[in-house]
């Protein structure tokens, strides 16, 4: 999987127990204002902010949620593609 850089103008917040990725003013022109995240997406994003590599994220989330690794790998790939389309991360 390709390396990526997280857009540091996006902020993860918790609102009433629900995760959301919010674009600060500097990111508003290029990114959606608010993207709701489920729990798995929150876990993905927190690890991505720490610049974890793809396989490390797959391993950590597979352990955290006790789910099939292949499913996590597929979900993470889709999640990253979606975030890249929305300019929240950039592949390098």
């Amino acid at each position: 999987m390709r390396k990526y850089i997280v857009n540091d103008k996006m902020v993860l917040v918790d609102i009433c127990g629900t995760g959301a990725l919010v674009a600060t003013k500097a990111a508003r022109k290029d990114c959606p204002y608010v993207i709701p995240f489920n729990d798995v997406a929150v876990s993905f994003w927190k690890l991505m902010e720490q610049e974890a590599d793809f396989e490390d994220i797959v391993r950590a989330v597979t352990e955290e949620y006790e789910v099939d690794e292949a499913l996590v790998r597929k979900d993470l790939a889709g999640f990253m593609e979606d975030l890249a389309r929305r300019n929240c991360i950039r592949f390098v």
Binding site: V11, V13, D14, I15, C16, G17, T18, A20, V22, A23, T24, K25, R28, K29, Y33, V34, P36
Partner: protein, 272 residues
């Protein structure tokens, strides 16, 4: 040449430099209506809000032109500065646990209620339907952007509603002193009328999108999120999917009334 002004919102004095005298005249009139003076010079300094620069206005103009290309939006310098002032002041209010919220606030049975939704969803229509059915039982407070504030000296769960000089294209506004917020009605257009009380986890993100601020940086976004979290956990938030007709107004009115009465009964039983 910018001049320094003091603007009082939600009982909080805020100092800002303004470039356009036309704005100061509008604000001065509004503040007078609220019973607040607006000092032009030598004001006691509390918060210095970053002044709006020519670059800021040019950037705002470019944003408006790209976003509202087909709309009849006034793009004069004073109009743009007035709109930018909203974000500047709302940002400054955050540290006082106050913020400007997008919605039509009205008074009903001694409390303030707010219709909120993205622009064009029918906030004003819903208010008009209530007026047509219930007449003077309700009255408008601010048609577009009231200020909400949590006061330290009040118990948790109390939210106060205050006027603001931004009250929408219809110009609906009147002077009022801080009123307790009774509830928020989040509107969505639909093919039938349905209403339900949203759980905080359902209401949080929709309410956050109606918080008006610049989201300048991570700390201000975190603060905004925490205030909306508090708001959703303090007052009932209703979701109204509706046709914009009289029946939707009656459904909302009766649902909230039944809820308020049941809360009073519960409170009475607990007090016994």
């Amino acid at each position: 040449m910018s001049k320094e002004y003091q603007i009082i919102l939600a009982d909080i004095p805020l100092n800002i430099q303004l470039k356009n005298d036309e704005i100061s005249v509008d604000l001065w009139r509004w503040l007078l209506r609220q019973g607040h003076p607006m000092y032009r010079e030598n004001v006691p300094l509390q918060d210095h809000i970053p002044p709006i620069t020519d670059e800021d206005i040019a950037s705002e103009r470019a944003y408006f032109e790209s976003t509202y290309l087909d709309n009849d939006v006034e793009l004069t310098g004073p109009a743009l500065e007035f709109e930018m002032l909203l974000n500047r002041l709302s940002d400054a209010l955050l540290k006082y646990d106050a913020f400007i919220f997008h919605g039509a606030a009205f008074q009903w049975r001694g409390k303030a209620y707010i219709f909120t939704a993205p622009s064009g969803t029918g906030k004003t229509t819903q208010y008009r339907r209530w007026r047509e059915v219930y007449g003077d039982e309700i009255r408008i407070l601010n048609g577009d952007k009231p200020v909400l504030r949590f006061l330290q000296e009040e118990p948790d769960g109390t939210v106060r509603v205050y006027p603001s000089p931004w009250h929408g294209k219809e110009g609906y506004a009147r002077g009022f002193s801080k009123l307790p917020l009774g509830g928020i009605i989040y509107l969505e257009q639909g093919s039938e009328n349905r209403i339900w009380k949203m759980a905080p986890e359902e209401a949080g993100i929709p309410l956050f999108t109606q918080l008006l601020f610049s989201a300048a940086d991570a700390p201000s976004v975190q603060k905004g999120a925490s205030l909306i979290d508090r708001l959703a956990n303090s007052v009932p938030v209703w979701k109204l999917v509706n046709l914009g007709d009289h029946a939707s107004a009656k459904l909302t009115h009766d649902t909230i009334l039944t809820y308020e009465e049941s809360q009073k009964s519960d409170h009475g039983r607990k007090s016994e």
